[in-house]
Amino acid sequence: MRSTLTYALKRLLLVPFMLFLIATLSFLLLALIPGDPAVLIVGEFADQETLARVRADLGLDRPFWEQYLTYLAAVAQADLGQSYLTGTPVMEEIGQRLPNSLVIIIPSLLMAVVVGTVVGTAGGYFRRGPVGKVTSVLISAAQGVPPFFLAIVLIYLLVFTIRMFPVPTGMLYSSMRPPPEVTGVVPLDALLAGQWSVLGAITAHAILPVIATGLFLASYFAKTVRTSVTQAMATPQVEFARACGLPERQVVRYALLTARTSVLTYTAVLFGVMLSATAVVEVVFSWPGIGAWALDGVLKGDLPIIQGFIVVTGGLVIIAYVVLDVLVAALDPRIRH
């Protein structure tokens, strides 16, 4: 147990260093992208004087290294600047939107792990029988259908045809008043105000986007689990387990233990992917998440938004990887000891 703790601490010490790298990267991005932010803010027809003033306000007239240090210092204090176009602080916006995205991402990852593990195990165990063939087809199909496409089909069928789910206009019904603002995070505010009907509305609105993303992610889990289980079933370990007369269900459990590490790794990887890939599904469901917002920022060239998005999602991915690493170590006696 103590060695796991030391291991965790060692990993955690790396986090600030990686965050620094990410901040540097996002700063360089700003510096290297052509175009004048001042023009973006005050328009092409502004006079030289105004442009110069805006540049000075942004600190763009300072030497490169000074800009870099100022930026790092700001990031270190969790200040990610303001949107060029709306002036809203980027950190504040992310703070309100990121939880909304997590309302989709985390359940769809959980769903994907469960569905993927079940389907993948069945596929790996029965790979030569009809079950294996069917799962194989299902996995390929699910991988081939992008989440937004599935989202549109689901909306058409379940919202407009059989009216099982609410119209995809964000998290709440259009007639619903948002909860009193405390944190600015709608689900959290609803919880604080004890407005269960609002939470219920959020859940009802989240189901389809979760299914659309979850099924897509599940296909990837199913594929890795199937590969791991297929390989594990052919190992001397499984052979010995059978030779000792263990029941098949336990034999499968032995095989799945080997797949555990790859499932965990995949969860962290896909979490990272999803942070940046939810944009399209968020757009389709008008979901006020971080992805759709960042996509908008990219399209408009709003650099602080892009930078802030990179720093925050990059940081989250790093943390997810570290947590995963420690978890894998804690679960595997070969690393633990």
Binding site: R242, C244, G245, D332, P333
Partner: protein
């Protein structure tokens, strides 16, 4: 009631479907292992020893397939039992010892947990009872500090220790028959002897039997009562160790023994290789390497012929009781 525990294998056939074609790995092997017998199965690498052993235990995995034959244990036909029926026999009445102990043990579960699973697979027992049983089993295989081993994991063990643990697990229910596939190849020589002494000791105690695959003729000479020589998936000679080693009748056995500098070493330096197992020869599989081969050898497969006292040979020109052969070697 654990009855006689005789193993009877008849005309066993195993093949592997590969991209190149169907590999005929085992082609009509048959033999009997009686209680008290320690049957050594020898032959070059690739001649179907492991495939035979797995088929007996119902552990053949795709792309392998049992094409035919019968395996009878203790009067019951194993081949028709199905997974569930077989499961109750494996680990309980038949113990299986793998070649690589680290491959066999689960790296993620503690040794105690694995023992508990194996014990509970065949009897009701509380966690405490399981621990007691496992501790005893570990002591029986000569492990001095069984508590520490039980609380630990596979990777903390040395190769010899790990193989002792595997043996303890495979024999925790006192099986009548032990199947062992080169149980000591992964270990160094001194440990090899200790392990073999250990396994054969377990058997000698109570008239149990064992089938051991090995490429070490010295092991056969020292530990086995009978020997089965395999070539290209066929049994070519069978008899007591004394009979086969003193007066080998099959040219392949003779070559095998001649390739060992002295009984006690490993097989090496045999000329040529196994025949094509995909386009399996219709005559004697050894014909293309055999110095005695004649036309009849290429055309018809020699049947396994009984030569009294449980001695059998499959060769058209088998040497009789050639006293001169043994004399020439000593």
């Amino acid at each position: 009631m654990k009855a006689s525990g005789e193993l009877k294998v008849e005309d066993l056939r195993v093949s592997f479907q590969t991209a190149q074609g169907t590999v005929r790995a085992v082609n009509g092997v048959g033999f009997v292992v009686k209680p008290g017998d320690v049957l050594g199965v020898v032959g070059e690498s690739g001649c179907g020893k492991s495939a035979t052993l797995r088929a007996i235990a119902g552990l053949t995995q795709p792309p392998g397939h049992i094409d035919g034959g019968r395996v009878e244990f203790d009067g019951r036909e194993l081949t028709g039992l199905g997974r569930g029926g077989l499961r109750r026999i494996l680990g309980n009445e038949i113990g299986f010892i793998s070649q690589s102990p680290f491959g066999a043990l689960n790296p993620i579960l503690s040794i105690e947990r694995q023992f508990r699973n194996v014990i509970k697979a065949h009897r009701r027992a509380s966690a405490r009872e399981c621990r007691e049983i496992a501790l005893k089993a570990l002591r029986d295989v000569g492990i001095a500090g069984p508590e520490r081993v039980l609380d630990g994991y596979a990777h903390q063990l040395s190769g010899g220790m790990a193989q002792r643990v595997v043996i303890a697990m495979a024999t925790v229910h006192n099986p009548q028959l032990i199947l062992a596939d080169e149980p000591t190849t992964a270990l160094d020589v001194t440990v090899q002897r200790q392990i073999l002494d250990l396994i054969t000791g377990l058997i000698a105690e109570s008239n149990r039997s064992m089938l051991i695959v090995t490429h070490d003729l010295g092991v056969v000479a020292q530990y086995c009562t009978r020997v089965l020589v395999m070539y290209a998936g066929q049994a070519v000679e069978e008899g007591t160790v004394d009979q086969v080693f003193r007066t080998p009748q099959h040219p392949y056995t003779q070559a095998l023994l001649a390739a060992v500098p002295k009984v006690g070493g490993e097989i090496r330096g045999l000329q040529g290789g196994l025949p094509d197992l995909i386009n399996y020869p219709s005559g004697c599989p050894y014909a293309d390497r055999c110095p005695k081969a004649t036309e009849v050898c290429v055309e018809t497969r020699p049947p396994m012929v009984r030569a009294g006292q449980g001695r059998r040979t499959a060769c058209h020109h088998a040497a009789g009781e050639v006293a001169g052969y043994a004399a020439a070697r000593s």
